[in-house]
Subunit: 319 residues, 2 copies
């Protein structure tokens, strides 16, 4: 029996890591979990930020989303304003201000953004859909999911005439499996399908969650996170799965091991120890490159790169 | 300050209770939680039934739905076959066979049925939409909700050009609040809104859940269940809320107390002690009658009736 590819050796951490660090931004309690996009020559990250209560008059220390911009994908300038505004005027409910861990997907001429939104008094996140063309102006569309659904991820194009998204519901008995929904218009969703349950490997024991799928010739590549909880506390890893291009509820490949596990000092220690977490990735099939921006220990934004085709191959060789 | 109406005294248990009893149907482990409909002169109940494993070759003792028919609304004949068939041929997932606690809503020429469906290996229920004209033939439509969503309830008509439903998601932090979704076509749903959180009264402490709304001049009347858990085990009660006719996420009334609490021997003791639970009600505005069929202790089907207008008034007088 041939020894399978070691998926933990495909990605390389960038030598400039961490690219964005909490300690460089006074008033910030946490900076982490970016969602990437390419707009012309610019690389954009929607960065999850937690400010200390009162530092900007919020009165509560909950999360927000800021835009970071770069012309080389390495050196980023982090904005100072909250980019996401899901509360519409006159609404009788309070969409609790904790807008982190967005998932960005380019569809047609827009970048669509799915944001997990907390509702005051009603607990766990629902999914809010918004969009932008330039990451300067945010257009709120509507809520598109019941709770609890953290990290819903849109596919970048229709499949058989319908939009699709990956969901990550959390229930009392299942902490995080991956499901699929589809839609005629991005606003109304149905045809719920189970895709992949947590629990088949040590690093996916507690839960798994998706990022926006990337089309490859072999299938939809999805960078996932996986969580398990040894006695010392949670441990967050990154891996990948491959979904059938026409029947995206069919898992046709997955990495045997994580692609990336907490190993460096900045991944091992911070506001949440032993955490690498991604909300998306950028791919260039011609250059055979995959760029995964990720949060490290809820205290920094980092980058790991590697061969796109090798990651796909590792999925196909997986169990 | 005027003493408010005692909502616990509006309904009267029918003297023929229990109308359907477990002990009259050999091979049945439980019979409970009916969803009612009127078809011409007939009263139909979709009755939740659990058969003993192997009694009909299922190999597992999970729930099913049977049709009970009556010409007087009191004396019912319980069918012997499972009415709901949510699994479509060739699907790669296993829609675990536990189809109980349906919610039936007449819309146009059809009776639409929302069934909580378990998915093997993926835990808590999703919502399956089906329909029938005669309760003889069941037409499966599609899944319409992520987990966990037990007891989704359709409104009987469009509001402002859209279909609406009440949802009851369950999350790790909220056992059961009432939410609202809306749809252009009954198959695809969005515009998620919080409606009412559990916990404001002792009998709604743990969770609440809805049944299909009934249009009245004052608002949408919704019979709800409420649960709390003293040291002795769960206690299930029935109450009512009133929603604004045009903005159905606005609660404009609710009963101060339960309408019905477990009091009789057949409600106090059975397969699940101290339980009264409804999946719907029948109303006749001209006769000023409300008929609530309910499950008693997961062991019987019962009936309580009372003045429709008094129940609405009790909601309007509530806190």
């Amino acid at each position: 029996m041939a020894i399978q590819r070691d998926a933990t050796r495909i990605l390389n951490r960038h030598p400039a890591n961490p690219l964005i660090r909490q300690e460089d931004h006074p008033g910030i309690a946490q900076v982490f979990n970016p969602s990437p996009a390419r707009v012309g020559d610019e690389t954009i990250l929607l960065v999850s930020v937690v400010e200390h209560a009162g530092s900007r008059g919020h009165g509560r220390d909950v999360g927000q989303t800021r835009v970071a911009r770069s012309t080389d994908g390495i050196n980023f300038t982090l904005g100072t304003e909250d980019f996401i505004s899901p509360q519409a005027a006159g609404e009788p409910w309070d969409l609790y201000h904790h807008f982190i861990d967005n998932r960005v997907t380019p569809i047609d001429d827009w970048f669509y953004i799915v944001t997990p939104v907390m509702v005051a008094g009603f607990g766990s996140p629902i999914a809010m859909l918004g969009r932008t063309k330039d990451f300067t102006t945010y257009q709120r569309l509507d809520t598109i999911s019941l709770p609890a659904n953290r990290g819903a991820s849109l596919f970048p194009e229709m499949i058989n005439g319908r939009y699709h998204r990956l969901d990550r519901p959390t229930t009392p008995t299942r902490a995080g499996d991956i499901w699929l929904s589809s839609s005629p218009d991005l606003l109304h969703w149905g045809s719920t399908r189970p895709v992949l349950a947590a629990g088949s490997r040590y690093w996916t024991q507690d839960k798994i969650g998706s990022t926006p799928p990337i089309r490859t010739a072999a299938g939809w590549l999805v960078i996932i996170h996986g969580v398990f909880t040894p006695a010392g506390g949670t441990s967050y890893h990154l891996g990948a799965i491959l979904l059938d291009l026409d029947e995206p509820w069919r898992v046709i490949g997955r990495t045997n091991s994580p692609l990336l596990s907490p190993e460096t000092e900045y991944e091992r220690h911070g506001n949440c120890d032993n955490t690498v977490f991604a909300c998306g990735a950028l791919a260039d099939a011609d250059a055979d490159e995959l760029w995964i921006y990720y949060g490290a220990a809820d205290s920094a934004v980092c980058l790991a790169t590697g061969s796109l085709s090798e990651v796909v191959q590792a999925c196909l060789e997986g169990w």
